[in-house]
């Protein structure tokens, strides 16, 4: 029950995104179109300071133009051409928070919006954090905070976490780690 490609048209080529419209034939012979956003892929980081009951997770608050509001998110960023996901995660954590980590492990890889977008996201756990002078990205203005498990539960219960990757990362941290 996959889809047979019939035609594909590039409709937009941007700095970050590309968009194409594919015409496909379904198993039963019907045809339809798929509007597909091509994204280079991304990483997100559950960065944990301390251990056990004293552990705190790093969240960043930043304005998101697409949704016209400030969101509280785990650190994240987009893969540069040819960049390995782990190297990207290390770079983004430093750029967004001024932190590096001694211990890294891969938690999960998932698609953020597979109905229409190619974006694949690698989620990492970063531990044994060290603070460095901050090197912000050129077009990001970010506020960094550390949150305990009880603070994160409170944020969840009061629906203050409105970003899918952050919900996934927070659930991993609270319930499976």
């Amino acid at each position: 029950m996959s889809e047979k490609p019939l035609a594909s048209q590039r409709v937009f080529t941007g700095r970050l995104l590309k968009v194409r419209v594919d015409e496909v034939a379904l198993e039963d012979g019907r045809c339809t179109t798929r509007e597909i956003v091509e994204h280079p892929g991304a990483v997100a980081i559950v960065a944990v300071h301390g251990e056990g009951d004293d552990a705190q997770v790093v969240l960043v608050r930043q304005f998101r133009k697409a949704v016209e509001q400030f969101l509280l998110e785990i650190p994240a960023g987009t893969l540069e051409p040819g960049e390995e996901p782990l190297a990207c995660a290390q770079r983004e954590l430093l750029e967004e928070t001024g932190l590096s980590a001694q211990r890294w492990s891969h938690l999960q890889t998932f698609y953020t919006a597979p109905g229409f977008c190619t974006e694949k996201m690698w989620l990492y756990l970063a531990q044994d954090l060290r603070s460095h002078p901050q090197h912000p990205e050129t077009d990001e203005q970010i506020e960094v905070g550390f949150y305990s498990r009880s603070q994160v539960r409170e944020l969840l219960q009061t629906h203050q976490i409105q970003d899918a990757k952050t919900l996934v990362g927070i659930f991993w941290w609270l319930y499976t780690l």
Copy 2:
């Protein structure tokens, strides 16, 4: 630290998606562009059959052209113009699975990819399921299954769930409900 809009250009208008490029001024005076995918919004449903240890969640398997693979997901779909999220969830659950539910509650609303996309997703819990003759959407070919908590944990641990909204929904069901 929000962003002041300077200019906006529509670059694509499709059947489902629109794309625009915004030029914005940051707090510190620097300028940058934001490529933004406009999406009508969507719903996703944690549909649970039975109670307690015997409970099973509904997952659907379908081919996702954007990522060129079959994914196991919770039922979901896109808002029609003017449609209320709950009405959309009820419609999509019936169309994708042939099920209706007597009890509905809202779990969470989140953005799937707020770095570049407007898509807002309403996540519902649907209980007291009833089976109806299936009415598939015109361009979807979907396989429906029921999974116990232990089967879902196994799917999580073996990284067979690769979709962000499904991870969020599954975590809600396994750990908070």
